[in-house]
Assembly symmetry: C2
Homo-oligomer: 888 residues x 2
């Protein structure tokens, strides 16, 4: 502090006014979503409490890096947020301390230093510049844009190659309180995104400059300027090599700062960067606990902690920490820091230097290992993993996506070819239709899962009860099962939930049709009634309930026989801005009047009043005819449908009227009805259960995927009392003898409990309507219409979190095996969207919490890339025609 | 401190010498494993750092509880571990402070107080008793057993009903450092179990006394005694009612104390109690972070935090805390604590009283809700859950087990009938064969799962790679797949892993036998070769690979047809201390010479030298005959076996020689071999893969259950390169089109990575042999032999973590549907062991980390209860005979 006062007396800082400075800085990376270059190491320093010497550690690291002769480093120190300013300024401390060290440390080392102050609150600026306090102005965000800097060149000779220190403070407030409180008291609001942008840009700037003009700064000596520091903007002194750089982002004095009314959620804020962490622990009495807790708060948010440092207070805290950490990461002990404020710390830095050298080595080694691991992963993965639904021969060399983490809807993906960058990709396949959480919810879910795992591990379910399983069942029955279901049967995934549902349905059928069975003994064969193009899972029982498809060929599953009566369903899609019905020929029987029905709006499709239409009668008689046909010993024992949307079949919107009539006809014949809501349930289609859209209830329904919010495998089969009763009896042999080891595992149920509540609560999910019953429209109608009339597009479907389109394609370009969409998806990948095709059908899938703005961004990018794709295809067609023309 | 010194000058404490005092205290609960009575509320106070006023909060709570007229409470304050003693003594502080408050607070309230010091280190005792410092003696654990107490009666009138405060310190050291360090410097070691025992007993003592003799103490007034305090031992003043009592166990000054070389792992220590937590947070600068971290350290260990308190430092930390906690739990603000050490705090307590009253109400409400919820759970569960493998009609009313948590191998189970107690039950069904972790490993796994969930949520797998999935695959290939497997296919559970394995095997068969297929087109039908009594899962594909059983009846799965050639395997079991082979008639073909083969030891069963025996030739010709038989269009496309142990089939040990010959015969015919290691893998049988016991490798193998250490569903199907290559081609349609949404989910893979490493590392798993290849023998040979010759026992199997026995039973008492074992299992349940039968086969299953001592305890209890069971059965038989005799 004394040091800083001294500095302030000597210098007069003057604010500048360039409100757009940061806005005009641009990334050099090819993708606009590239967050972080990995071509040099970057770290983040955390401390388990205030005043533990975090800034000293930063300075010590800078010292160790910059004094290493003959290869000094370039060292960037970023302090985004500072309170207690200007009395406290960590970045200035580094600047001053390194200046002194470079001169006084034996032997002295040459150094080029820059220190910058960017923004501050008005009181902080006034305190800093009492002379011109009246003339200070704040911008719209409430900050004075100081934008001042100081540069120095110390101890440079012709021979000596100087180290470079760039030390920056982003935003500062005067009062020494938490930033959110300071902002409340002094004004000056900066949002997470802006801090993140500043960090990301500062880091990218370090890679950017290819034409460093060392001379300018080398000649400058001590120089005070307004405007932007050259050292900061231009890497004036060339990096010595990618791995000799140590960059530090010292985000916050202690962890974790709570969201505090939305101003700063720093841990959340820096999550997309997920910089490797150095933790400055507490060597004092009680410090073991605080250090471990801080370590756990970091790891429970997915951060990697590389090393822990503690100051030596003679309490041997390090021994306990090492024991806790099981030597997985090093614990370094720093000499006691002199308490005398007038001590210049030169001796302390000298005595600590070897510790900081070790720390620097640990950090660099870890960086090298991390990058090497990221570089190696694609090849290793290609060699040992066996991906589902993937023809390994068609995966191009080097086209394996390395997913380093996810934060809400976005992957962090390592891109070797783009400056070794870590980029954000929107996960538009919703990691195969499971995803629900935004970044906040993900953290909450992770904590709830950790809690449940710690509390329960896994506990036996039959004849027992545990709280998460019970609460999950209660929530399911009062939510998706409301009004019809009374029992919940847990399993692990959609496919097992379907197998269980089929067993339930068949038993119910057998009990209801006991006479039939008694007469026939076991001569009868049970079939399901299902729709062509429906898909219910990959285990044999689930497969038998679907019609022939690429999944069911002899090549894939020699035991498949297709134990169903499969009907062709009428479907609806948005084509040229119109929702149009397509009725299969087989169903029409020549009555062409109904062939070209269309709807005024999507809402009209779901109107119950359609039950009285001619179309309903047509559907009814068609279904009735099939159900009444004699099949000798074969009986329809269950109806199984995916309500409204047949997903894996190509995102087909089946006419809900048709499905409603199907249910009615089956009910009249005492055929149990199964709704496969594995895909459609839990808000995927904008309502908690797709049965709400259909306007009728099943006897049995299956849920999975979004059930846990997209975190863990869990499935539930819900059933009515009547179904349950079909399994009651005096012997265990009559019970439903199907189960999996992890039935109702606590971690999955806990995640489901949190998710079910989260999605329908307007306090946590902004997309929910006031009644908590529907998601507001996520996809902009104009953009959707525009896409539906795009020349490359066959049809479009939007409903809830789903946007799907079928590309115009013919012959081998159409169907599940088609690779037609690949080039389009690669363009979108480069544009920050991760998608997977269903042949020539592509889709964007968001979470129930994704903002409509994000959805519109996605649609916008899709349109742009679709244009490009279409032009390329047209050109290709044209050239092909030319070619044919010439050669014919 | 001044207060305490004053107290010490006035009183002279004298040590007593009753080393067995605590050992002679006995639980009143019927089960020796009952840890905790829930008939009154008990809480634990934690603080996010030292010196945050945790003891003041305890005193404030005591004050609020004891001063509430006209129904004062009984308040027990337990401070198990104290350092800085006698200058610091929290329990004495409470005693003194409440004495003062009862007299000075307007209006004064009558109080009966007791304060006790039990054990201390020698330096602490000398400091406390300088007069007799030379005469002090330490016991074997290094403690002086002070065992002194002080009692007082304050402000009692004839009318006034006094509150009762009992304030206890368990173990104390002199130096104000962490307890482990103090113990190292001063001597005095106390292990976790002893602290836990003291806590548990102290609490049970509160329920125990039904004959409180109030007069003795009421007359006593101030009285110093040696020996045990009456107030502590006898509830001299009757509890006012179960919910008006507030008991506090103030375990440690800050959280979490690391294990610190094994002396104290207090968080782990108190985990079996899992008392609801009150967290005293930090109101100072930087305190938000520390408080949140502490909260997270508690929740990530499965603790429930009821409320957070912070001292008001004017920084509004409570606002940030409330925002973080989303108002799920209350944050209470205490007035600033006077810094002046001479302040008697009377005013502060007066000003804080309403806060403490609120806190007390919150705690009592939470207690009532918790107990009510525990009481309600069985009925609710019976009403809405649908348990697998359970005939709901046979579940007796009130026989639902409420599992509140698990800690390592033990459940914490709520027992309404036993004093509303929370009891420990050893989970001997290893929660259906999945469990691996001891308590330490469970905490580590929970943290790793939380980390992975926070870092990744779930990320898309096909054509992508994430670190946990890759590392898990690498560990599998270098572990259970070593020497044969080169690819890993992930899925969700054993059943799906098997379906995938079958698809792999059939494809491989088709590729290897292409000519056969070309000739027959799709006329051929593929069968598996499998063993009777084997079990591979509940989905249809897995079921088709097993022979008829109760699981496969038309009633259960109308689609089952049994697509296999099923052979009867020879089995081995320990009967009357001898490992005997039983060869099925069908296999012997009359050659009775081999019928009664037995082995000298279990090891002999697995000798490879048996390959040259006559028996091997017999096996070979039998298998060969079956494989060569003509089946027209049917072909054996795969062999599938559970290596060594057929689990669900009744824990049958199949002769490994027979399985080895089977594998050989199939290899010779190019029939792919699948090992179903879902049960047998991952150390269940004492080796990482049961293939090691068999001495041969498969082409495909399935793992699940123990794969994640028993935390989350995850399965892996491993395959050779040759199998993988059968799916390569130019089209996606040739790829293996089977997958589940959560394929290779990061949390599951992370748990698997930790588990795989943990089990084979001698540093983490004491049971592993030096080479890291086998578990040491867990089950005592003598006890096992004793059981094998028990008259109630048919046969015994032990291998690795498994001990199984078949009860002698006939007719309906035998087989899967039998309820014969029920009464035995209920006895064992009362004796602290949770088991589930497979009909008349029962088993004890431990984790790969369970100590042999624990296993012996289990066997001991089993023998005792088996005796009881046998006597009861014999008596019943006898009476039946008598009955028949009379009536015939």
């Amino acid at each position: 502090m004394a040091l800083l006062n001294h500095f302030l007396r000597r210098r007069s800082l003057h604010p500048t006014s360039r409100s757009t400075r940061f806005a005009t800085l641009r990334h050099s990376s090819s993708s606009s979503r590239s967050l972080l270059p990995l071509s040099f190491p970057t770290f983040q320093i955390w401390a388990s409490n205030t005043s533990l010497g975090k800034t000293l550690v930063s300075a010590g690291l800078a010292f160790a890096s910059l004094s290493s002769s003959p290869s000094p480093s370039r060292f960037l120190y970023l302090k985004p947020v500072q309170t207690g300013f200007p009395l406290d300024s960590d970045s200035l401390f580094l600047f001053r301390k390194l200046s002194s060290l470079s001169l006084l440390f034996p032997p002295p080392f040459p150094l080029l230093l820059s220190h910058q102050l960017l923004n501050s609150s008005l009181p902080a600026a006034r305190s800093l510049l009492p002379d011109c306090a009246q003339g200070l102005e704040t911008n719209a965000a409430g900050f004075v844009e100081l934008g001042a800097y100081e540069e120095r060149l110390v101890g440079v000779t012709k021979e000596g190659k100087p180290g470079v220190l760039v030390s920056v403070t982003g935003w500062a407030w005067k009062e020494a309180v938490s930033p959110d409180l300071a902002a409340k008291r002094e004004g000056g609001r900066v949002d997470d995104a802006e801090v993140l942008r500043m960090l990301s840009k500062s880091l990218w700037n370090q890679c950017e400059d290819k034409t460093g003009d060392a001379s300018v700064l080398l000649c400058g000596g001590d120089c005070w300027r307004r405007g932007q520091s050259r050292a900061f903007r231009n890497a004036s002194v060339r990096p010595v090599g990618p791995v000799s750089l140590v960059f530090l982002v010292n985000i916050k004095s202690s962890i974790p700062l709570a969201s505090a009314n939305g101003l700063f959620a720093l841990l959340a804020l820096s999550k997309p960067l997920r910089l490797p962490a150095i933790l400055v622990g507490d060597g004092r009495l009680g410090g073991i606990s605080g250090t471990i807790s801080a370590y756990e708060s970091l790891t429970s948010r997915g951060y990697d902690v590389l090393a822990v440092l503690v100051e030596d207070h003679g309490l041997l805290n390090e021994a306990s920490l090492r024991s806790y950490l099981k030597n997985r990461i090093p614990v370094l002990v720093l000499p006691k820091i002199p308490e005398d404020m007038s001590n210049d710390l030169m001796d302390w830095f000298g005595n600590s230097r070897h510790i900081f050298m070790s720390l620097r080595d640990i950090m660099l080694l870890s960086y090298r290992e991390r990058v090497q691991s990221l570089l190696d992963m694609p090849k290793k993965a290609g060699n040992i993993l066996w991906w589902p639904f993937t023809q390994h021969k068609l995966v191009p060399e080097g086209h394996v996506t390395v997913i380093d983490s996810r934060c809400g809807e976005n992957f962090a993906v390592f891109k070797e070819n783009e400056n070794w960058s870590m980029s954000q990709l929107f996960d538009a396949c919703a990691s195969w239709w499971t995803q629900g959480p935004d970044a906040t919810m993900q953290t909450e879910l992770a904590r709830d899962i950790g809690y449940a795992a710690a509390r329960y591990g896994h506990v036996m379910f039959p004849e027992n009860v545990n709280q998460p399983a019970l609460e999950c069942a209660e929530l399911l029955l009062s939510g998706v099962g409301k009004g019809w279901a009374s029992r919940v049967y847990f399993s692990d995934n959609g496919s097992t939930a379907i197998e269980i549902a089929l067993k339930m349905a068949f038993r119910k059928f057998c009990v209801d049709h006991a006479k039939l069975l008694d007469a026939a003994e076991q001569q009868i064969e049970l079939l399901v009634l299902a729709l062509h193009g429906s898909y219910h899972g990959d285990t044999l029982g689930a497969m038998e309930a679907q019609s022939q498809s690429p999944y069911t060929s002899f090549l894939q599953q020699p035991w498949y026989s297709g134990r169903g009566l499969f009907l062709h369903p009428p479907t609806i899609a948005l084509c040229d801005e119109l929702w149009e019905l397509s009725v299969p020929e087989e169903l029409l029987c020549g009555s062409s009047a109904l062939k070209s029905l269309s709807f005024n709006s999507r809402e009209d499709i779901f109107l119950q009043s359609r039950d009285a239409s001619d179309l309903a009668r047509l559907y009814s008689s068609y279904i009735s005819k099939h159900l009444s046909a004699s099949r000798k010993t074969k009986h329809i024992g269950a109806l199984i449908i995916e309500p409204v949307i047949q997903a894996a079949g190509g995102m087909l919107l089946v006419d809900p009227l048709f499905q409603r009539v199907l249910v009615d006809e089956c009910r009249r014949r005492e055929i149990p009805v199964i709704f496969d809501e594995v895909f459609t349930g839990c808000w995927r289609l904008g309502v908690e259960s797709a049965a709400e859209l259909l306007g009728c209830s099943p006897d049995i329904a299956c849920f999975a995927k979004l059930l846990t919010g997209g975190m863990l495998p869990l499935a539930a089969t819900l059933a009515t009392d009547a179904v349950f009763n079909a399994f009651l009896g005096e012997t265990k042999l009559k019970a439903l003898l199907h189960g999996h080891s992890y039935t109702a595992h606590a971690a999955g149920c806990a995640a489901a409990v949190t998710s079910i509540k989260w999605f329908k609560d307007p306090q946590t999910n902004c997309n929910i309507n006031p009644g908590g019953t529907r998601l507001n429209e996520l996809w902009d109608t104009d953009l959707v219409n525009q896409l539906s009339s795009h020349p490359a597009v066959q049809r479009v479907i939007t409903l809830g979190t789903l946007f799907a389109l079928e590309l115009q394609a013919e012959g081998p370009n159409a169907g599940y095996g088609s690779l037609y969409a690949r080039s389009l998806l690669q363009m979108l990948h480069s544009d920050g969207i991760y998608m997977r095709p269903l042949g020539n059908v592509i889709y964007l899938m968001c979470t129930p919490c994704t903002s409509p703005r994000t959805c519109n961004d996605l649609l916008g990018k899709l349109i742009l890339n679709l244009d490009k794709f279409y032009r390329a295809q047209s050109l290709q067609d044209h050239m092909l025609q030319q070619h044919e023309h010439i050669f014919c």
